[in-house]
Symmetry: C2
Subunit: 248 residues, 2 copies
Amino acid sequence: VQYKKEVKLNNGERIDSLERNGYGIIQNKDKFCFGMDAVLLSGFATVKKGGTAVDLCTGNGIIPILLEAKTEGSRFFGIEIQSEVCDMAKRSVELNDLSDKITIINEDINKIEKRTFGKVDIVTANPPYMKEFHGLKNPDDAKAIARHEIFCTLDDVCRVASELLPDGGKFYMVHRPSRLSEIISTLKNHRLEPKRVKPVYPYIDKEANMILIEAVKGAGVELKFEKPVIVYKEPGKYTDEIYEIYGY
Amino acid sequence: VQYKKEVKLNNGERIDSLERNGYGIIQNKDKFCFGMDAVLLSGFATVKKGGTAVDLCTGNGIIPILLEAKTEGSRFFGIEIQSEVCDMAKRSVELNDLSDKITIINEDINKIEKRTFGKVDIVTANPPYMKEFHGLKNPDDAKAIARHEIFCTLDDVCRVASELLPDGGKFYMVHRPSRLSEIISTLKNHRLEPKRVKPVYPYIDKEANMILIEAVKGAGVELKFEKPVIVYKEPGKYTDEIYEIYGY
């Protein structure tokens, strides 16, 4: 496969095709690989024509890259605290020649400054899902940092999203259903009112394992509980919905 | 059909079979008829052997009667504020000769006394779903009272459930998904932690129109998002799940 630009790959890295706009993404199974959660979130979020989107905890930049491909937004930002993972994201932006639309910033989300982004229309986040991390052997473990609330908590993510957004601005998050009750109370604490919930079931007869949430800053209480996403028809075989809507 | 005892029917009343234990229930389409929500709630709730269950806003007593039929609980209470509807419930209990197990009380849930019930294991509620009622023509309108928060609010229902339950006791409620965010924050305000959420979709490709919630008093935060209930396969035809699990 030929991508727009050539970039240097480090040890353990590979380029995977996104099967969309001819885009590729740099992955490293020891550091960061995107999952179905990022794909579903970027299908669930919408960016209006000319709009600006900020992705918190962007990892290898999968969400800004997919949003750039799928929407008519103009400006996309991705914030990632881990410098090595962030570097993968920056090189993926280069690989697809998207530097005029996507900016990747190596920063702690708790330290970013609102004025960096101009007017923000939406914020997205596929944050660490797990609350505590017992037995962390190596504090530099990139995968542990992506999965556990080591450098940012649910409250941080919601607070920062709310700070970046104007009233009426939208925050999209994918998270674990086991934390739904905390998620809803934390969003509300930051004036982010849940407006759409879409549960994701691996199979129709199993418990949900992900939840997609859209919250609107300063909105009234009234929520739509959307039709579920069912991921697999049978083991290894996606449902038509996943193939059709999400292009995988 | 022959029921256990004979009871007097008032104008506009009929007896419908519950197709379970030979039970019937008195209904009146101008006052109160039970819906799929009550049936699903009584399938979702569990009462342990010898346990006591209190149903708030019981209407014609459908939930205590179905729980008596489906569980090994010993004592069932139903509280209903509307005297005419409550009288239907009392006669349905008689009809099925269940007066030794089911007690129907004509009272405002805000005025009931905890000691009336002994140790309560679970509380159930299929409360009025709608927040406001504009244009109420007749304050005695039984159906309006069952549907709108005229005599009891979501907060009342959750507060009373919490008062009746010991720590570890379970509260089961069916409600509208549009109010999920309020429901979760109200439950938490009364130390009722949501533990199971089960969305009900009329069809698999439509928005959810009901949500079943189990909350446990004083429990930790961690929620199971159960497989969805899909009600209809095609218009007028229930899914196998509804036929099998709920017996209709």
